[in-house]
């Protein structure tokens, strides 16, 4: 794993559901150690992009490399946080059970999670501020708490690259801040974090790297360079209104954008 090798390299990736193309000829390189937001309107293929990277959806063409090798060989380097709504939260499991699932990939067949897995899981729960909920049944959690549990499950995977699908969907402001803090910690520790995100207001605040997606890749790169008015217009078409100020020019990355999407 040399540092000059990109964390994710996607070349000529096209994905179609039956006959309808969902992603068209995507070329995307994500360097290691960035916190990247995938931004785009509904139906832009954001979730599909992540699922294709993770091998959950078969591409029609193109390839994905994680640190230079196909995903199947690099599974241990990758952690995945699905959308919270994708599972049944009335499933009979405790918070600790769910977090320990993050160790199952490393455990392999036939081995049961033991003391070590327990400790790792409790540690991860402490990092997301859920240590005291370890034995709570998962249906008794709020939306934000459920999201934190999912995040803890990804943390115990001890990965290099993290993929998160809409982690801020339906969570409270406190949780959102806590999650952002954690993601920034991960980046500081040299991990790569890829987040499907839809709130344009917070892009410049949260991320240092961005990919604008609408079936094809409109722009990608450091937020300051890629998150431009022109690129947003190209991504969202006419559904965007600029309220105040201007988008950051190259080099003026700190300014807030003041963008809303009217859909």
């Amino acid at each position: 794993m040399t540092s000059e090798q990109p964390a994710i390299q996607i070349t000529d990736l096209t994905v179609a559901y039956r006959d309808k193309p969902v992603l068209w000829d995507i070329d995307l390189t994500v360097p290691g150690g960035v916190l990247m937001g995938i931004i785009g309107p509904n139906g832009a293929g954001k979730t599909t992009l992540i699922k294709t990277i993770l091998g959950l959806v078969r591409p029609a063409a193109g390839q994905v490399l994680i640190y230079g090798k196909p995903y199947a060989e690099q599974r241990r380097l990758v952690a995945y946080v699905p959308q919270r709504s994708s599972v049944d939260w009335d499933f009979p499991a405790s918070v600790l059970d769910v977090v320990m699932m993050g160790r199952y990939g490393a455990l392999g067949w036939f081995r049961r999670p033991g003391k070590r897995e327990r400790e790792l899981a409790l540690e991860a729960l402490a990092r997301v501020g859920m240590r005291e909920f370890a034995h709570r049944q998962i249906s008794q959690l709020s939306g934000g708490q459920q999201q934190r549990v999912f995040l803890a499950r990804a943390l115990v995977q001890d990965a290099q690259v993290y993929f998160m699908d809409e982690p801020f969907q339906g969570v409270d402001a406190t949780t959102e801040r806590a999650i952002v803090g954690l993601l920034q910690d991960l980046r500081a520790a040299g991990k790569t974090v890829v987040v499907v995100h839809h709130d344009l207001q917070t892009v410049t605040e949260y991320f240092d790297w961005v990919a604008l997606l609408n079936v094809r890749l409109v722009a990608s790169g450091p937020v300051a360079e890629a998150f431009t008015e022109a690129a947003l217009r190209a991504t969202y078409g006419g559904r965007i209104a600029f309220l105040e100020g201007r988008l950051p020019d190259a080099g003026a990355g700190e300014r807030r954008t003041g963008v809303v999407v009217s859909s």
Binding site: T11, D12, D19, D27, A60, Q63, R216
Partner: protein
């Protein structure tokens, strides 16, 4: 039941001389029953309630048994009313369980109907073994004997009772369908809007469930409870693969039901096998034919479309790829025909085929180690992207 049943069938055949023509009458009863089942079945399939019909057709038996203990007369109309009430009560119980949020709806269905059906079976086995109420008949139907049970007015033979019963139920269904067509349509496709417009979807829902229950009661005398499910679900399911319009779906379902009834009866006469079973098999075959051959949604149509689209899609993909890398530093690598298959992850033969087709269409020009888009190719690529963006 078996030996006795065979004797009764033989007896029926002997009566063929006496009555006008029992075989024709059987087919007629089967057709009316099939149509009466198919119409409410359309709404069950569209409202994702097909398995509720499975539950209802089983639990109506409990209503019949309980009513029989009260009135002690197997021909009393009270039995039919009690049976329909049991069907509606089943639906209510399933919904109540589901709404406690302790179990999901499918588990609630799977819990309620075997329970009620078991009670009915036990009651029959225990207390009603000698009367004309046997579980096999309820489960399997006895259409073959239907012509024996006739209405007479004085000396005039008015035809089989089952034919009158099912015709009455069918007429009632048709009448309700005509009266509430608009409301049913709206409540089926947009329950929230229907409620907002004051159409009381709950009332419609229970009305529909009452019709399903009554139909089940009438029909299972003839075809048995499991096969009522076949007549209610299979024809509408087949029709749903052929049309998007509710009215067409209703007509098609009725036609499929009638067809299954006729072919099923003829097959059963030929094989001397279960009438109801044969009808169910034919409904399955009709569905199978629709599944494979439906012009838009059938397996064959899907496969053909997929093959065609794979070609068109691959060509478009190639054009987009070329457009992206046109006049970029990587052009020499990305647009080199001998490396193209690596970049697009296609096998060599497929790549060559797609390149040839695209060249024939004048979308690109192949030079020695570079492919370039023609003007029309560039336009098509831009169109592809524009259309999606």
């Amino acid at each position: 039941m078996r030996k006795e049943a065979r004797e009764r069938i033989a007896h029926t055949r002997k009566l063929a001389i006496e009555y006008m023509n029992p075989l024709t009458e059987i087919i007629l009863i089967a057709v009316v029953t099939a149509i009466a089942c198919a119409l409410p079945g359309v709404f069950l399939v569209l409202r994702r309630m097909a398995m509720v019909s499975d539950a209802i057709t089983h639990t109506v038996l409990l209503g019949i048994v309980l009513a029989f203990f009260v009135v002690r007369d197997i021909t009393s109309p009270v039995l039919a009313i009690a049976a329909a009430a049991a069907g509606v009560a089943t639906v209510a119980l399933i919904e109540l369980l589901h709404r406690t949020e302790r179990i999901r709806e499918d588990a609630a269905i799977g819990l309620v109907f075997p329970f009620l059906f078991s009670i009915a079976v036990i009651l029959i086995a225990r207390y009603a073994g000698n009367v004309h109420l046997d579980v096999d008949a309820v489960l399997l139907g006895e259409l073959a004997f239907a012509p024996l049970d006739r209405y007479t007015l004085g000396d005039v033979d008015l035809g089989p009772r089952a034919l009158w019963l099912m015709s009455g139920i069918l007429l009632m269904s048709l009448l309700l369908l005509l009266l509430f067509y608009k409301e049913l349509k709206l409540a089926t496709f947009d329950a929230a809007l229907a409620a907002a417009l004051g159409f009381a979807p709950a009332a419609l829902h229970y009305g529909l469930m009452s019709v399903v229950s009554l139909t089940a009661v009438g029909a299972f005398n003839a075809v048995g409870s499991v096969l009522v499910v076949a007549l209610m679900v299979a024809p509408p399911a087949a029709a749903y693969l052929l049309t998007d319009r509710l009215s067409h779906m209703l007509v098609l379902s009725a036609a499929f039901g009638a067809l299954a009834a006729i072919l099923g009866c003829l097959a059963a006469f030929a094989l001397d096998a279960s009438l109801a079973g044969a009808m169910a098999v034919v409904t399955g075959l009709i569905f199978g034919a629709a599944w494979v051959f439906a012009p838009e949604r059938g397996l064959l149509a899907q496969a053909l479309r997929y093959a065609r689209q794979r070609q068109e899609f691959a060509q478009a993909m190639l054009l987009v790829h070329l457009l992206h890398h046109e006049a970029t530093p990587q052009e020499a690598v990305e647009c080199d025909p001998s490396h193209l298959n690596e970049h697009l992850r296609w096998d060599a033969a497929f790549t060559a085929q797609i390149l040839r087709r695209a060249e024939q269409r004048g979308l690109l020009v192949r030079q020695k180690d570079l492919i370039t888009l023609t003007e029309s190719g560039r336009r098509l690529a831009a169109q592809t992207l524009g259309g999606e963006g």
